[in-house]
Symmetry: C2
Subunit: 331 residues, 2 copies
DNA sequence: AACAATAACACAAACGTTTGCGTATACTTG
DNA sequence: CAAGTATACGCAAACGTTTGTGTTATTGTT
């Protein structure tokens, strides 16, 4: 039997309500002398609060849920770190739930869990939620926000980078460095992220009056292997002089495969990645990237959720920047 | 107002107990006809169970907690995937809590959370728990297990790789490939993992009658930067012909720095890593490693916790293997 | 036909908190 | 000094479930 508030009350010769108020620091409800006494007794008895009971009685939980894809990408850590950074300062607990990879069953289960636990908010990270899951989440009324993810307007509030801008800026950078034939690797045509980036790419090309060969667009996801196979598609004598990869891992796949073909990066082929995680700095050559600030995305998302003025949460884009490293060169 | 079991009972014209039993599938307590009816009404009303109330009343939760360091290492993902694999099949929820990096405050908070929530078990991943946290966990009586972590005997049950064997096997491999002067990089002398690996290293060296120069042992942790600075310590003309790094990232740090010194790996220096995560396959040269099966560690740990024959949990080592890649050569 | 046994359900207590309200006591104020 | 007002605390209901123990019908047995 665990020691409860009741035991503490009895031992301290006060009522349970007093113990409750002391232990949860409801100011102006007790004399500091009583408080000290109660706290001491509680400590002596080894009292541990039962969070379930508390949440049940108070109708509010202090836990934030992060629903995340069992992502092959590697920026989730940074987002989570950002979330923890502000959650911790605010005294909230964070629970993380994996929702698999395009796995509606697991998604439903994760969403069901957050609803059953009536968490105070949920952050959906790098995940396009299925319609089913999304609508249960919406009807539950639990505040939620999408982080770094497909942000079709009707989805709900999001904090992310502007994927259109990402595609546009990357392309523009390469064009301005003399590249006219630019490959785009790993974009998922089914996803919002992918199509946005592709549109940005096309816009930049058009703006500079450059034709796009559809053969330069090799779809895929965010994996290393997608980079490898895409480069295999381009072959040993690629028509393109530069490639934009959908993630750091994908870029590495491209570079590895290029190397296997005897192609020097960046001497014979420039490769640029999207994300700019630590991988771009430890890999050789270091990889020029469109860098997103994932830590800030996490921070901003958490802050938005915690911000309790009851205005609806504002969606926003966080700035991206291009970081020049050694995988690209001026033509 | 959320719809409760009471509302369902009223709408279905049965008692709350019946609804409860139907919805939680307590066999032999109701007619299947009633059950169908109740389930339909519940669905129509959009009933969502309140997990807090249920856990409170039944004194048992179905959530498994994973306490993890905000790890700079990168194998945690695989362990978590393994945990999820068996937890999901078993119908358990998993919540992940970050406990920072050697941060007693965060550790305490994480442990406090799992105790307050009275989870059914906790998996401590790659984390040496402070005495304070450990003893609260122990007195709480919550089943727990350490995964891939410092496993001093008195800590409690663990599932991990045998760090002594890791140090020993890595060293032996290099010796048998003709290396006599072998560096050991990134071992933390304060940690059990580090000292075990060092002991294994020394034993292998002694076994082959090789002297150890203390200068070859460069302490550190598991980071990329530790690899870089260690290699800087060895300098442009290292005395050692091979280096064992404490993690894949550390190995990459070593190789990058070596390359900056104009040293070819493996032509002029062999580098071997411990862990064998995906990094060793995407980096060039691919990295020979002592490979741990983190996914299985996760699976085994979770299974051990869930296994409810009430014998105490058995500690065990999972096998390691050496995977030869391109960062080492025969001398 | 009488009775026991079982199936199907309802009642109500319990889980450990929080919190609105009530009530003494002590302290102001005119 | 009476009346009003804080202050400090206790009482008890409520939160939404689970579950042990009744309480009826229904079925089976002799």
């Amino acid at each position: 039997m665990r020691v409860t508030i009741k035991d503490v009350a009895q031992a301290a010769n006060v009522s349970v309500s007093t113990v409750s108020r002391v232990l949860s620091n409801k100011e102006n409800f007790f004399a500091s002398k009583t408080a000290d006494h109660v706290r001491k007794v509680a400590a002596d008895l080894g009292y541990q609060r039962n969070a379930y009971a508390a949440d049940l009685a108070s109708h509010q939980s202090d836990v934030l849920a992060v629903v995340i894809s069992a992502t092959k990408s590697n920026f989730a850590d940074e987002i989570i770190a950002g979330i923890h950074d502000v959650a911790t300062k605010n005294g909230n607990s964070v629970m993380i739930l994996y929702a698999g990879e395009n796995n509606p069953t697991l998604q439903d289960k994760a969403i069901k869990t957050v609803i059953e636990r009536d968490v105070m908010g949920v952050l959906i990270v790098a995940l396009e939620l299925g319609d089913e899951s999304l609508s249960s989440l919406k009807t539950s009324g639990i505040p939620h926000i999408f982080l770094s993810t497909a942000a079709k307007e009707n989805l709900g509030p999001f904090i992310a980078s502007d994927d259109h801008a990402i595609g546009y800026e990357a392309t523009k950078y390469l064009i301005e460095h003399g590249h006219h034939k630019i490959g785009l690797v790993g974009m998922d045509e089914q996803s919002f992220v992918g199509t946005q980036r592709m549109t940005g790419y096309r816009e930049a090309m058009a703006e500079y009056g450059l034709a796009v060969n559809e053969d330069w667009l090799v779809p895929g996801y965010f994996t290393f292997e997608d980079g490898e196979t895409a480069m295999a598609h381009f072959g040993k004598q690629p028509e393109v002089t530069a490639i934009i990869a959908n993630s750091d891992l994908t870029a590495i796949g491209v570079i590895d495969q290029a190397r296997d073909y005897g192609l020097e990066v960046p001497a014979q082929l420039s490769v640029m990645s999207i994300d700019g995680t630590k991988l771009t700095r430890i890999f050789r050559p270091t990889i020029t990237s469109v860098t997103q600030d994932f830590f800030q995305i996490g921070r901003a998302g958490c802050a938005a959720l915690l911000n309790d003025d009851n205005e609806p949460i504002q969606s926003k884009f966080l700035p991206i920047k291009i970081v020049e490293r050694n995988s690209t060169r001026q033509l």
